[in-house]
């Protein structure tokens, strides 16, 4: 599934898996992939957001949703990494992003999928996709990112 990815793209996917573990999610979703991509400085510059900001915005979305049910989020005093990497499967949204990234790479006659291709594929997602929701919450406009990415 992850063949034809550059080492940097593989690193972003692995970082996404770690982000899912940190949050305690059972599956790796597009939101985790976005966080994973933001570990890459070039990608963070294109998006205009760093990984810490995105992570805390995602936490804030959770807290807001819980508050709507009248539940106050406890302070656990720092995240605990949850293991069991091999059992974590990608969501259907994540799986849909990969072939699109392959197509984008092929259109540019690139032999391998770079983090930039993964990001551009993620930007095509519409809400309620988790990555699209997170980008909207961060007030990041996909069109702006696409324009910046086209110049590089």
């Amino acid at each position: 599934m992850f063949d034809r990815l550059t080492p940097a793209a593989r690193a972003a996917v692995a970082a996404g898996d770690d982000e899912a573990a940190l949050r305690g999610d059972r599956r790796v979703g597009t939101d985790h992939l976005l966080l994973g991509l933001l570990h890459d400085r070039e990608i963070a510059d294109l998006v205009g957001v760093d990984v810490e900001t995105a992570r805390s915005r995602l936490r804030a979305l959770d807290e807001t949703a819980l508050a709507a049910l009248g539940i106050t989020s406890p302070d656990l005093g720092g995240a605990v990494a949850i293991s069991r990497r091999s059992a974590r499967q990608p969501t259907s949204g994540f799986r849909a992003v990969l072939p699109l990234a392959y197509t984008l790479a092929a259109n540019e006659r690139a032999r391998r999928v770079t983090p930039r291709h993964l990001l551009l594929a993620l930007l095509t997602r519409d809400e309620p996709d988790p990555a699209a929701t997170l980008l909207a919450a961060l007030e990041v406009r996909p069109a702006d990112v696409r324009a910046r990415a086209a110049r590089t």
Binding site: R23, G24, D25, R26, L61, D62, E63, T64, A65, L66, A68, L69, G70, I71, S73, P74, L76, A79, V80, A81, I82, S83, R84, E127, P128, T133
Partner: protein
């Protein structure tokens, strides 16, 4: 009078917020994530205090093997 109106408005806004599935479904996910984080923290604490995997499994209502596979080194 105005207090009553405020309360009604609060109730209505609370209802509106929870009838949005985007919010409600995220809350379900957030509860699950919270449970996972608390579980990881408490399992680590129990291990530090000398609990066996079997005791932890029994406390969580799951098999010893599944706790060990998830948190064992």
């Amino acid at each position: 009078m105005s207090i009553q109106t405020d309360t009604m408005a609060d109730d209505l806004s609370a209802q509106l917020r929870t009838t949005d599935p985007a919010v409600g479904l995220r809350a379900v996910g957030a509860l699950r994530r919270l449970a996972e984080q608390v579980e990881a923290q408490q399992v680590a604490l129990a291990r530090e205090q000398g609990w066996s995997w079997e005791q932890i499994g029994d406390a969580l209502g799951v098999a010893r093997q599944s706790v060990h596979a998830k948190y064992g080194k």
